[in-house]
């Protein structure tokens, strides 16, 4: 909306023209020279960082988007108040509507109108993957929120750094625990899209390593957003005698609805239900009692005594009157890790920041952590938990912990070349 008439966009364009070998590129530069703000924004004086927060504020992931933004905003506030950094963050929020086309349009606006060099956000995998490409194309730094393996795997690039725990990491804890506590005869119920597929692949490959007798007893696949799971529950019940556990590869509304219907049918009494994300607050709140007795991989829990997590929880509760959850902590530390990279690089040039951020050891809510140099993935610890009766909504009881190095796949296995 013509908020500010900076020259960022055209500067990028001009640089391209110059590298293309055009002598006349200099003429283009002339258009920007007169702009005082542009001059002040050189590499020397680093005072404001333009950040774009791209989240699904409408559509199926709206609650997660809002939760994450709370964490993001808390981190921005702390950075701006702190003396530790030589700069302040200016940010604007954009609604991706959970649609790649809308997200790309908003991201263009962020980069070209706001002059953002740093992007954060997006919950669903397809949107985050489109943003991956956008970040590379526009040479801006991006910290995504989706768990899809490909984001720091086959479709990774040097501008993407993920603090969210990937499905590969969570599957490591789930597989170890399931094998030790339940057995190796597994039934899968998956949402039929990239996420469900990756849950099965990651879980299965680990199971195969752990046990020679591993067997996939059966599988049901529901459309993404199916809304009704009775038929699948019937099939799972039919296989309950042979299978040691049913692994659920779905999240969000798909998962809450599945758990609600499964509880009505008495499924948790017949077979252990192992999920990837039932520990999320919206899932626990949505499914209520239906979630008790369900097992879940845990990416984060507020009681955690690690790093500066307790300070984060305290600040978060003071600000929002509720405990933080997975998405808010991703928003929070994505920002903190990113700004430390900016500080280290001493520059707001995303390329320079990306160069130093990979492998930069820093303190997080999970203690010392880093975005790995090989794939940009944070080395987060993971847990296995059970949902037990709580006051308002079910509590998460931690059953097992796996530290970051153990959970993360080896660099060679990620398929990431950057």
């Amino acid at each position: 909306m013509g908020r500010d008439d900076k020259c960022h966009g055209s500067r990028r364009q001009v640089l391209r023209a110059v590298t293309a070998g055009s002598v006349a590129g200099l003429t283009g530069l002339a258009g920007c020279v007169g702009d005082p703000e542009e001059a002040a924004n050189g590499d020397e004086a680093l005072d404001t960082i333009e950040l774009a927060v791209l989240e699904p504020f409408t559509g199926p992931f709206a609650d997660l988007g809002e939760e994450r933004t709370q964490g993001t905003e808390l981190a921005i506030e702390e950075v701006n108040e702190s003396d530790e950094f030589d700069f302040e963050i200016e940010y604007e929020t954009y609604d991706t509507q959970s649609d790649p086309e809308d997200a790309l349009s908003e991201a263009s606006e962020a980069v070209q109108s706001q002059g953002a060099q740093f992007l954060t956000g997006c919950i669903s995998s397809d949107v985050a993957l489109s943003m991956n490409d956008f970040a590379l194309d526009n040479e801006v730094l991006y910290t995504p929120g989706a768990a899809d393996v490909a984001i720091t795997g086959e479709r990774c690039n040097e501008y993407v750094f993920r603090f969210e725990t990937s499905t590969a990491q969570i599957a490591e804890a789930m597989a170890q625990w399931t094998y030790e506590e339940q057995g190796d005869q597994i039934f899968y119920h998956l949402a039929d899209y990239a996420y469900g597929e990756s849950v099965r692949n990651e879980f299965e490959s680990r199971m195969e390593e752990l046990s020679d007798d591993y067997e996939a007893v059966g599988e049901t696949r529901a459309e993404f957003g199916a809304g009704d799971f009775e038929a699948y529950i019937t099939q799972i019940e039919g296989a309950a005698d042979e299978a040691d556990a049913v692994v659920i590869g779905s999240t969000g509304e798909d998962l809450t609805t599945f758990l609600s219907q499964a509880a009505d049918r008495g499924l948790p009494d017949e077979i252990p239900i192992v999920t990837t994300t039932a520990s999320f607050t919206p899932v626990r709140a949505g499914a209520g009692d239906a979630a008790t007795g369900v097992f879940s991989g845990v990416r984060y829990y507020p009681d955690l005594e690690m790093g500066d997590n307790q300070e984060f929880v305290e600040a978060y509760e003071a600000e929002y009157d509720e405990p933080p959850d997975n998405f808010s902590r991703v928003g929070y530390d994505s920002i903190r890790m990113m700004v430390r990279g900016i500080q280290e690089a001493g520059s707001d040039d995303p390329t320079e920041v990306a160069d130093v951020l990979g492998g930069l050891e820093q303190e997080t809510i999970f203690g010392p952590n880093e975005f790995r140099e090989c794939d940009g993935q944070a080395v987060n610890p993971v847990w296995m938990g059970e949902l037990v009766e709580g006051d308002d909504l079910p509590d998460v009881e931690i059953l097992m912990e796996l530290d970051g190095e153990e959970a993360i796949p080896a660099c060679e296995e990620t398929g990431c070349e950057r």
């Binding site: 086309e101 263009s108 109108s113 209520g288």
Partner: protein
């Protein structure tokens, strides 16, 4: 094994009955009032949320569940009556298409109100103890709530049936759904029953919404997930037929839960649409639909032609000025140093082209395609897959997209154009949904992750001669035009060329036949034209241009995912066409600009911009059905000194007023 089979059958019946309740209201509303109510799913959601309010938010909890089951549908029924009185009623006598647009607006409004009042999370409805847990019977653990759903659903369906069959109201409503005019001739004011029917239909939807929310979750997206299956059922059973809704609902419920999901899950999401297409082809009015002739003859689409307000010359000049202004956008953006207007402009122009393609078939032959996103998606994937696997020339890839879309349009047209009106809309929707489902399932399309073009080299040119847009730069004074700015000109060029090509086509004898079909298909037939062939040709042309738009859509994003072919995109493009004014070719271009302009403007002021957008659509349909292009004509009498050049730009010659009167 038997136990499992019984359980599977029960699953099917449970869901089937919910579908029956939803479809019954939808079907009767259509039968009696000819209204296609897209907001029906949202009314169900509203029912579910009112139940949430009555049980959870009052703090009463599960004991209020039964009360909520009575009160919430009643309240939604009242809302339904109000909606009918104040939004639907002004539209009677117009083509059912306007109801699609109106109720599409209502979907946005109601859905956003739910977000506004109840927030984004989902709720689990508290239910009395009797209705939770399982009942042991025949060695099976059957969920008590499912039993409750079956019993209450059956009772409700019977009640509706009895109401229709044994009361005077029912008699009139049934008569009305068969032949409205006859009922009027008998001296009964059928119009007064409309509100009642709409209210009862809404109440039924709310009831279905509540029992469904008890089984699943109350969440704002519930409506979106049930409206498409409900439509399929209504069409399968026959619009306006209660019996059809019952049979269709149970059929789809059992097919989905008891047969497809357990035995052939990979076909789910396809079979239902294939079934719908097949039934429509064999029995164009559904299983139990009446075979009466369509009343479409008297209910015309209101084309947006302004009709001789401006001189032909003036309009041509205005059009050229408009193109000139659009051509200046990248340069001005370059001067201001804000490239966003270029990327935003590219997006609008791509959609303008898409809307133009739809207008060619909708505005000139009266065929309302509810599945035009099929061609957008086809073009988009054709370009991306073409550039990845086949060629590195963008032009070749675009040609591929156009050819593929045209070919598929011919096939879809061949199968669909024999049915008319609403049935055509539904059959095109079915094809689009088939394709959408296919995109998720195929390996080559990358499934839900989509495909990116980054890392693949491609150039604008042919046979190795050409360059990547990033490697070329033009210098206009102090402004450098490269990359996105050049792409903008590619899109603008495509749009202008498409406009002139389609306009030329419409001025040819072929175009005259199309217009005669729109005005009066029967007369065109009497003159000896095979109208089906002409309509199909128009559909192929439209598909080809939509494919081109799709290709540019993918290039603009450098990314494509299945959402390119989702039905909401089809709905949005219809909105753009009507917003601008259909049957004008330039109206939809203005409509696309207005749509995105509004969205862009509103998102900056409120997170609940859909509410505002929806309200604007509703007001538009009611007060300005001929679209933005009709504004100058409407204002003309009030302007001193007659119309001046300040009137809407971009208006080009068009014949005098031709739209039908009601």
């Amino acid at each position: 094994m038997l136990g499992t089979a019984i359980q599977q059958l029960l699953d099917g019946i449970t869901l089937g009955l919910v579908y029956v309740l939803l479809a019954a209201g939808l079907s009767v509303i259509f039968g009696v009032m000819n209204v296609i109510n897209f907001a029906h799913g949202e009314l169900a959601v509203l029912g579910a949320y009112l139940a949430v309010a009555l049980t959870i938010q009052t703090g009463i909890g599960s004991t209020a569940f039964v009360a909520a089951l009575v009160i919430a549908p009643f309240l939604v029924g009242i809302i339904g009556v109000a909606l009918e009185r104040y939004t639907v009623q002004p539209l009677y006598g117009r083509n059912p298409l306007y109801h699609i647009l109106l109720t599409f607006g209502l979907v946005l409004v109601i859905n956003d109100l739910v977000y506004l009042i109840w927030g984004t999370g989902s709720f689990r409805l508290p239910r009395p103890g009797v209705l939770t847990g399982t009942i042991g019977a025949f060695g099976l653990g059957i969920s008590s709530y499912n039993v409750f759903m079956i019993v209450s659903g059956t009772l409700m369906a019977f009640a509706v049936w009895a109401l229709l069959e044994y009361t005077k109201y029912g008699l009139i409503i049934r008569a009305g759904s068969q032949d409205r005019q006859m009922v009027r001739n008998l001296g009964i004011e059928i119009d007064r029953y409309y509100s009642l029917v709409f209210g009862v239909g809404a109440g039924l939807a709310a009831f279905a919404g509540i029992i469904l929310a008890g089984n699943r979750q109350a969440n704002p997206e519930l409506g979106m997930s049930i409206i498409i299956p409900a439509f399929v059922i209504v069409v399968l059973g026959g619009l306006g037929s209660f019996k059809g809704a019952v049979v269709g609902g149970l059929l789809v419920g059992i097919l989905q839960e008891s047969i497809l999901r357990p035995w052939v899950p990979w076909l789910e999401g396809m079979v239902i649409f294939v079934l719908m297409i097949a039934i429509l082809l064999i029995r164009p009015h559904g299983l139990f639909g009446t075979e009466l002739a369509e009343e479409g003859g008297s209910e015309r689409l209101l084309a947006g032609r302004a009709g001789g307000l401006l001189e032909r010359e003036t309009r041509l000049k205005l059009g050229l000025v408009m193109i000139g202004v659009l051509a200046l956008v990248p340069i001005v953006a370059g001067l201001l140093g804000n490239q966003f207007w270029v990327t935003f402009g590219s997006r609008v122009l791509v959609w303008a082209l898409f809307a133009l393609s739809l207008d060619f078939v909708m505005g000139y032959t009266g065929l309302v395609s509810l599945g035009h996103a099929l061609f957008l998606g086809l073009g988009a994937y054709a370009v991306v897959l073409g550039l990845i696997h086949v060629t590195s020339s963008v032009f070749v890839a675009l040609a591929l997209a156009i050819a593929l879309s045209a070919a598929i349009a011919w096939i879809v047209g061949f199968l669909s154009i024999r049915v008319a009106g609403v049935y055509f809309a539904m059959i095109t929707l079915a094809f689009a949904e088939l394709y959408y489902n296919l995109l998720y399932r195929l390996e080559i399309t990358g499934g839900s992750e989509g495909l990116g073009l980054i890392g693949h080299d491609y150039y604008y040119g042919i046979a190795g001669v050409g360059a990547s847009l990033d490697d070329v730069a033009f210098f206009v004074g102090p402004v450098v035009l490269t990359g996105h700015s050049l792409f903008y000109y590619v899109v603008l060029g495509a749009l202008v060329a498409s406009y002139f090509v389609t306009r030329r086509m419409l001025q040819s004898p072929f175009g005259s036949v199309l217009k005669s079909i729109r005005e009066n298909e029967e007369r065109a037939t009497f003159l000896g034209y095979n109208t089906i062939v002409y309509k199909r040709r128009a559909f192929v042309v439209s598909g080809a241009f939509a494919g081109l738009a799709g290709g540019l859509f993918a290039l603009n994003n450098a990314f494509v995912s299945p959402s390119a072919a989702e039905w909401l995109k089809s709905g949005e493009v219809i909105v753009m066409v009507i917003l601008g004014g259909m049957g004008t070719l330039y109206g939809p271009i203005i409509g696309a600009g207005a749509f995105f302009g509004l969205e862009q403007l509103l998102t900056h002021y409120t997170g609940r911009w859909r509410l505002v957008l929806g309200t604007i659509f509703v007001l538009f349909v009611i007060f300005l059905p001929r679209g933005l292009v009709s504004v100058p004509t409407m204002l003309a009498p009030y302007l001193p000194g007659g119309p001046g050049p300040a009137a809407d730009p971009g208006q080009l010659p068009e014949e005098a007023k031709t739209e039908g009167d009601d």
